[in-house]
């Protein structure tokens, strides 16, 4: 009952062009049926994410570990709440990040859980930069 060959094939890596995404905007793409948020973060959002002491977080992880160095403005996360799988809304909540409308979990501008019932940060999917304005997810 595991995924069949065609489902696996359809889950192959995809390329996303980032050039149309302006600063402060974000886009949602689907990969393997999951929504992936790609945020072009503002300076303020990056500073906020880096100012918080890592040890105080429910799921401690530094912002540096969640983005690719040299591309700090880009945050790529799987937009599925780690509580029960709803899709959080971008640019909402108290932490300039994501807010899940189902059970009230709030994530910061680095996609880390800050408040609410979710146990973990929004996962970062495997991805790499193929050029400065293009990433490959998967």
């Amino acid at each position: 009952m595991n995924p069949d060959a065609s489902t696996i094939a359809a889950g192959a890596p995809i390329e996303v062009d980032l050039s149309p995404v302006a600063e402060g905007q974000d886009i949602k793409v689907f990969w393997r049926g999951k929504p992936i948020y790609i945020s072009h973060r503002t300076k303020k959002q990056i500073d906020e994410a880096r100012a918080v002491p890592v040890a105080s977080l429910p799921d401690p992880q530094s912002d540096e570990a969640r983005v690719k160095s040299g591309h700090e403005q880009w945050l790529v996360v799987i937009g599925i709440c780690t509580h029960l799988g709803c899709i959080p809304i971008a640019h909402e909540g108290n932490y300039d990040g994501f807010f899940c409308p189902c059970h009230g979990s709030q994530y910061d501008s680095s996609g880390r859980i800050r408040q609410g019932p979710a146990p973990a940060n929004l996962p970062v999917p495997p991805y790499q930069f193929v050029s400065d304005t293009k990433i490959q997810i998967g």
């Binding site: 049926g33 999951k34 509580h83 029960l84 899709i87 409308p101 189902c102 009230g104 019932p117 146990p119």
Partner: protein, 687 residues
Amino acid sequence: MSGPSDYQPSNPALQWIERRLPIIGLIHSSFVVYPTPRNLNYWWTFGAILSFMLGMQILTGVILAMHYTPHADLAFKSVELLVRDVNYGWLLRNMHACGASMFFFAVYVHMLRGLYYGSYKEPREVLWILGVIIYLLMMATGFMGYVLPWGQMSFWGATVITNLFSAIPYVGESIVTLLWGGYSVGNPTLNRFFSLHYLLPFLIAGVVVLHVWALHVAGQNNPDGVEPKTEKDTVPFTPHATIKDGFGVACFLLLYAWFIFYMPNYLGDADNYIPANPGVTPPHIVPEWYYLPFYAILRSIPNKLAGVIGMFSAIIILCFLPWLDSARTRSSKYRPLAKQFFWIFVVVCILLGYLGAQPPEGIYVIAGRVLTVCYFAYFLIVLPLLSRIETPRPVPNSISEAVLAKSGKAVASIAVALVAAGALFVGTLQDARAEEGGTKPPGNSWSFAGPFGKYDRGALQRGLKVYKEVCSNCHGLSYIAFRNLAEAGGPGYSTAQAAAFASDYKIKDGPNDAGDMFERPGRPADYFPSPFPNEQAARAANGGAAPPDLSLITKARSYGRGFPMFIIDFFSQYQEQGPDYVSAVLQGFEEKVPEGVTIPEGSYYNKYFPGHAIKMPKPLSDGQVTYDDGSPTTVAQYSKDVTTFLMWTAEPHMEARKRLGLQVFVFLILFAFLMYFTKKKVWADSH
């Protein structure tokens, strides 16, 4: 099932069979001469009601499966077309969907009866555990069945529930992938759920056979909890129990028919009339009412894994009940303390159900935690403790002694209280949709409301005109065919008029022999063409918000009625939240934005739209559409007409539903009376 029968059929052919397979003897000894305690009350009829409901669900389900397409792109549409085009498809669907709720309602009564009268105690432990297994199977079946219509709540319910398994350490993620058959809930998930939803009821039927077998070995418990000793304590199953069960089923059918014919969507969620969309989560994900207490337990435990364990233990704990409660007296009738705690427990369950439908914030979370503790305390502290400290009242020596001492009981008042409690419980669902930041729409007097409601033909025809001239520029009506305009219960056009109406439209057809698509005039069998080729085009042309298809809009929109209105609605048959909302939104545009509300660029202020910022500009203005019949050409009249028309598109067979409902009610009431008097006659010598 109680040992070798001495039954001998008189017919030689039956004798021939009986010598080779003693099946008639088995039925005879199990369901005819089987001794049943003579003091059983009406709570004992729920066993027969449940068997009846299982049969009903399997029968309607098998027929529904003949018309259903288990594919992510087609499932939603196939259910809608089933309701619209299959002969009595609406009836089948209502029977099956409401049947699931009634099945659970009956099983909860049945379980609470067992709890109250100590039916799980020695020697009925295996019987009880088999019952818990049936209940678990029912929950799985009900959940998977709810996924099949592939609406928003189906999809997101499936997502939330399958994600529960991801809480299991190490293997959780692989289990979830296995359940999905992919990387998220999708077509493979729907296919396997359909397969399992078809399989599980037959497993339930198998376990039910074991359950009845175990029952007939141990014998039925009874309200006094003393075992039958002499023949005076029992009566033969047929005709006594048969006719009493028949009367119980007839009364139950009245409640069932109330939902089927008059309140088919009362127990459902409006969001499930929106096709599944993996990109949008509904604001409140609420399971069906029968899971709400367990959902509340899940949410009130702050740790994810602990929450899942808590939820499952809330059910599994029932298996250990025979050993947790070691009191020697079975029936709570003779246990003054246990009786009080039982009712407290019932209230705790209902309140948990209420909380399960509320948003998980503030006071609701705290109350949920307190009640979760109460729930488990009942099993783990109260029952073990009571069995040690409680002094029960003396039990009668025998059943016949109890029957002689028995005073008249107010069964009717209990039944009424039960129905009210049930309504309160299920109605909590309605509450979940409240508080979304919109003003409540004002009520209207609709011609189609109430048990005898009919569509106003004039309003339907005018509404069609408004739709055609205004709404259809942006909104599709994709489930409605031109032929529907000529069907009974609709706008009342003739077949020729519908054909003429259709021929005004250009329909894309093809490919032709040259392989090209071409346009031709519409035929009655064609569906209303949508204004945009796909959702993306609709979105792009309308500033990012796709105008929804209007076929189902009056059923797909609702608003919270709040306590206590939802209880009153159950009796008054108020079902018009959707039309009230649609008509209110059409009239709710205001030029002047009130203070404190900011409306983004490209949106408009609407008083009744949740959040108030709507992308649709004010669609109607006075005098915009001309009417031939002299009706006022005002926005209020347009809204009323088009809403009536859209109610018809959402439920074209509503008049047939209400008409058949009346006939069924007349029959059922007469039938119930006949059953009651037959029962009285049969039992005349036994009380």
